[in-house]
């Protein structure tokens, strides 16, 4: 406890405004504390549950559109602003991932935006990767890993951005694996009202990248969506909306195993995770409706920003820990 406090004060001394991913450091700690003090003075359980619900609507909207879990919002919002114990905040965030995935995933399947076969194929890589990551977690030191991952994410952000302006070289080598597994798909573009068929390229490499995404999520406790969406969109040339929708559909499966573990440990508090779940379901339904109208360039820009934010968090965590 005192060690934790010392660490916290030394961080404040260095005037570090840390950022937080699923389980790690903290954004604007001072503001969070002041806010938390105000919150605990006036707030009743009902008010806090309502606040959790409202925050979760936002998390569900963002998470469902970008193909991420929404843990980026849920953990800091609950633990820093609302004073929820970090254990329960993380427990609630894993529930929020599942709620986003199932809620928005169902809507995307109905709208024919998910490439289910591709999703299920890549799920094998992400779940295997997550399991290996959990094994490696005790054996690898996180520091350089975080720095390396942060740099990789910055490169990914750059690749995403470049992709936006169509400057990349397209190679149209047919992919035998994609053909054999019947991964090529058709999606309904709600903006133009037409059916768009597309092919999947570099399936093997995409599978490997998804495996890495799984390992990273097991090792560093981050959602794999930040790697999966660019892997599908930039690398495998799947339309961005399909990539985001497929990622949304996939993340629930990987999260389900962790959620089972968190539940067994007693980290999933009904009064925290309950309002989170309902809020996220509402948010993901709103988000999945917005997705139809959203244009890909805006989505790509938003995703690039999220990538940079997560990259900076990772670099910061790696360099200051």
């Amino acid at each position: 406890m005192s060690k934790q406090f010392r660490m916290a004060t030394s961080r404040l001394d260095r005037r570090l405004s840390c950022a937080q991913t699923c389980c790690g450091t903290h954004p604007s700690r001072t503001c969070g504390r002041i806010f938390h003090a105000l919150v605990s003075a006036v707030m009743t359980p009902f008010v806090v549950m309502t606040a959790i619900f409202l925050v979760s609507i936002g998390a569900g909207m963002l998470g469902s559109v970008l193909g991420l879990g929404g843990g980026i919002i849920v953990v800091p919002a609950l633990s820093l602003w609302l004073g929820v114990d970090i254990r329960y905040a993380i427990g609630a965030s894993i529930v929020s991932v599942i709620a986003t995935s199932s809620g928005a995933g169902a809507a995307y399947v109905k709208d024919q935006m998910v490439n289910l076969r591709l999703g299920m194929f890549l799920e094998l890589a992400t779940t295997t990767g997550a399991l290996s990551g959990a094994f490696l977690a005790g054996r690898l030191t996180g520091k350089w890993l975080e720095v390396a991952f942060g740099l990789a994410l910055i490169y990914t952000a750059y690749a995403m951005w470049r992709h936006n302006y169509g400057a990349e070289r397209v190679d149209h080598r047919p992919d035998r694996l994609a053909d054999a597994l019947r991964l090529n798909g058709v999606y309904h573009n709600h903006a133009t009202g037409e059916q768009v068929s597309y092919r999947v390229y570099r399936t093997g490499a995409g599978f490997a990248l998804s495996g890495i995404a799984g390992i990273m999520s097991g090792l560093l406790g981050i959602g794999g969506g930040v790697i999966k969406v660019p892997a599908m969109s930039v690398y495998m040339r799947v339309p961005l909306k399909v990539a985001a929708a497929t990622s949304t559909f996939m993340i629930g499966v990987t999260a389900a195993a962790s959620a089972g573990v968190y539940f067994a440990r007693g980290d999933i508090d009904p009064y925290v995770a309950g309002p989170t779940a309902i809020g996220v379901v509402c948010g993901s339904l709103i988000g999945s409706r917005q997705m139809r109208r959203l244009n890909s360039a805006a989505l790509r820009a938003a995703f690039t920003i999220v990538l940079i934010v997560v990259a900076v968090q990772m670099l910061h965590r790696g360099l200051t820990s």
Binding site: Y88, T128, A130, V253, A256, D269, P270, G274, I278
Partner: protein, 140 residues
């Protein structure tokens, strides 16, 4: 007699699309049912504990490290019989957590029916990974 021009009729679904829609339905039902149970549980809690609306101290009991709620599945039935709000909410959360797993199981069944051996193997692999990681986590 009515005649419909083929152009205006909705395009018929391929068998693959039908399968996909069924999987989507599983997710939808899972989310709707679990969200309803969670909401019922939370409302029950608020009705049974009016102090939740007025007592700022209650928050620490709820969100602090020492909060009391069903930790294990074996505790759950007893509390459910007493219609405790938190137990109902926990039941809903459990159902929500299981929904993706049910979806994976359902896809194994569907690929088996379609005789798509590659994808049966793939989805069985995914399920296996889930079971292993859950069991390992529990041992830890």
């Amino acid at each position: 007699m009515t005649t419909t021009s083929p152009a205006s009729a909705p395009t018929p679904m391929t068998p693959l699309e039908k399968t996909e829609q069924r999987l989507g339905l599983i997710l939808r039902v899972g989310v709707a049912v679990s969200a309803t149970i969670i909401a019922v549980g939370l409302i029950t809690s608020l009705v049974r504990h009016p102090e939740f609306l007025s007592d700022p101290e209650g928050l620490k009991r709820l969100t602090g490290p020492a909060a009391v709620f069903p930790h294990t599945i074996s505790e759950l039935p007893g509390q459910l019989i007493q219609l405790q709000g938190r137990a109902i909410t926990t039941l809903g959360l459990l159902l929500l957590i299981t929904t993706p797993v049910i979806r994976v199981c359902a896809s194994i069944v569907m690929f088996t029916i379609e005789r798509d051996r590659r994808f049966v193997a793939l989805t069985v692999g995914v399920l296996l990974m889930l079971v292993i990681s859950f069991l390992l986590g529990k041992v830890e």
